[in-house]
Amino acid sequence: MTIKNKDNLIKEISGYFKDYKKFKMLSFRQCAKESVFFKNNYSKIYRLFYLKNKNSEQIHDLNELILCSYFSSKNVIKSIKKLNNFNYVKRKIDIKNLFNRNKKKIYLKI
């Protein structure tokens, strides 16, 4: 595949993730540079992308390859982690109040 073809493919797929800026995510172009999955699979993606009259299985495969390329990118994963306000560890849940340890047993006694 020529560089021009690859560039065109990336440009076309970038349009799939148009609203990335609004959500502080990366563009497909940025992630394609370092996505190992995309590097390993772009010939397959190219072939499926430009295939005319794709059947449903081919459409599914192409979607899966594009989403895997994007969401397996290290930088994408990093930005998703950054976006999440992971206060999970800090939260203290009042277990005593939530779960009554003196409640009547509900299992059948044999």
Binding site: G15, K18, K74, V76, I77, I93, I106, Y107, I110
Partner: protein, 515 residues
């Protein structure tokens, strides 16, 4: 052909084989463990890794037909409502499980007495209790004591943090006055919520024993016997060299599909329909899979539901026991799961057309990611003769051994249970404030609890093994995996599998002359 001699051969180094080997390592018996798969590096499949979600789609896929590993055998699911999931290799299916470790209820062992369905187990909850405890101590189970759904459970470590989603749903259960409790979890809190598998529980203990030899990448294709005794096993290595191992006792720990496959393939002039299958003809029959219902609520607020261990955070046994008002017998577990990762979320949304590429992709994505609470319904799955595993002589694995065919239909009782379970889960999610709720059943790819295909019982006419796991037809052939479950209950079977393996193996140590 090379011949080797051992006191005991254990076939399979998954959950049951590992527990059995640990118990037997207390003796000075010469033990050989044969595992058809290889050893993988636990770091290769870890939630912390960026490749975690990609690995789940191929190398560590649940379905062996998709994974296509060297040691996987093809499973024909065409006649099954549910696809079989497993993992062949050291650790077995613990490599892929979610670390949820509940026990069966006392009533599960006596369903014939309690509900007049199926058969009673030949053992009781009380007899198994000390082995549940022993196993939970070794594995290190997190949970909260005084659970109203069980008799007292000791030795629990502090419960896993519920997270925002767990807290929200627990409050909803409380509003409904329904049982809800932190899950029994085999999770390593110090290692980024990774699950505790055979690799970090039993395997290091087994490796300390000088009497145990582990041989991997070696497939047992036949159990060798005369009419009264098992003599050993025939194996092939990856270069297709035949090897024979002789032993006084053979223990099978290959799960509810692998064990009947090996028994059926081991037919000889004394056992024309498969070894240990003369008295009952039940080898491979009564397959139980725990059909699963799936209910997912989407909320407005970010629940951080992708953060934390992958498996169940809280569960409910409110509807576990039979209620006479229902049109079904037995019941179900509601397991509240964590949300899925970004890749799985996007693939799932794409599959159900809830996300479109283009100008609103991330808008749709972030409406769902980290904002969902899934609830799995695990239903009781009573044994049926019409649900079975058989050999597929037309398709052979890389060692030349026949693969398997599955015939499995979800029965009426189970369908009714799933219907009721979905209704209950939807109600909880509504009370919790879900803005959208989505549900379906049965989930096709969830045949990961493989039970009943060499069932345990007192009568050799209607069971394959006795209460000690010994085949009725061959006393020195013992089965310790989930194929011996008489019934399946409605909980994940791992804790019961390992407790049974410990119990059966301890008996071998105490009563060597009976084998």
């Amino acid at each position: 052909m090379h011949r080797y001699n051992y006191d005991i051969i254990i076939v399979g180094l998954g959950a049951s084989g590992a527990a059995s080997a640990w118990m037997l390592s207390k003796s000075n018996l010469k033990i050989l463990i044969i595992e058809q798969g290889s050893q993988y590096n636990p770091k290769d499949f870890h939630k912390k890794k960026d490749t975690w979600e990609i690995s789940k789609l191929k190398k560590f896929h649940l379905n062996p037909n998709i994974r296509k590993g060297k040691c996987d055998y093809k499973i024909d699911n065409k006649l099954s409502d549910i696809d079989i999931a497993n993992f062949n290799g050291i650790g077995g299916s613990t490599v892929l499980y979610s670390g949820h470790f509940p026990r069966l209820h006392p009533s599960d062992f006596k369903v014939k007495n309690v509900d007049n369905v199926s058969f009673n187990w030949p053992i009781s909850y009380n007899e198994l209790e000390q082995y549940y405890e022993m196993n939970e101590k070794i594995v290190g189970i997190h949970g909260l004591g005084d659970d109203p759904a069980y008799p007292k459970i000791k030795n629990l470590r502090s419960p896993i943090n519920l997270g925002k989603s767990g807290e929200l749903i627990s409050r909803a259960f409380k509003k409904l006055n329904w049982h809800c409790w932190p899950s029994y979890s085999a999770i390593d809190l110090k290692n980024n919520f990774s699950v505790k598998t055979v690799y970090n529980t039993y395997l290091p203990l087994i490796k300390k024993s000088k009497n145990i030899t582990i041989k991997k990448n070696l497939e047992v294709v036949k159990i060798l016997s005369d009419e009264k005794k098992v003599k050993g096993v025939l194996c092939y290595d990856q270069k297709k060299n035949a090897l024979r191992f002789n032993s006084q006792l053979v223990i099978l720990a290959c799960n509810g599909i692998g064990t009947p496959r090996l028994l059926l393939n081991s037919k000889n002039k004394y056992f024309k329909n498969g070894i240990a299958n003369n008295s009952s003809g039940l080898v491979g029959k009564n397959l139980m899979l725990h059909p699963l219902g799936f209910v997912e609520g989407t909320f407005n607020q970010n629940l951080n539901s992708d953060y934390g261990p992958e498996g169940c955070c809280v569960y409910s046994h409110q509807f576990y026991e039979t209620n006479k008002k229902n049109n079904f017998k037995r019941g179900y577990t509601m397991q509240v799961l964590r949300g899925s990762g970004p890749l799985e979320t996007s693939l799932y949304l794409k599959k159900i057309n809830k996300i479109k590429f283009g100008k609103n992709f991330f808008n749709n994505f972030f409406e769902n990611y980290n904002k969902t609470i899934p609830i799995a319904i695990i239903s009781e799955d009573l044994p049926k003769l019409s649900n079975y595993v058989s050999l597929n002589e037309d398709v052979k694995d890389s060692f030349g051994m026949p693969c398997v065919k599955i015939k499995y239909k979800v029965d009426k009782n189970t369908k009714e249970i799933l219907k009721a379970g979905i209704k209950s889960a939807r109600k909880v999610l509504e009370v919790a404030g879900a803005k959208k709720i989505f549900s379906f059943a049965p989930v096709k790819h969830t045949g990961w609890h493989l039970m009943g295909t060499a069932k345990m019982g007192n009568n050799k006419k209607n069971s394959v093994v006795n209460r000690y796991g010994q085949c009725h037809d061959l006393k020195n052939l013992v089965i310790v995996d989930s194929s011996i479950f008489t019934t399946g209950g409605a909980v994940n079977p791992i804790g019961t599998i390992q407790a049974l393996a410990l119990k059966i193996s301890e008996r071998i140590l105490k009563k060597k002359d009976d084998y």
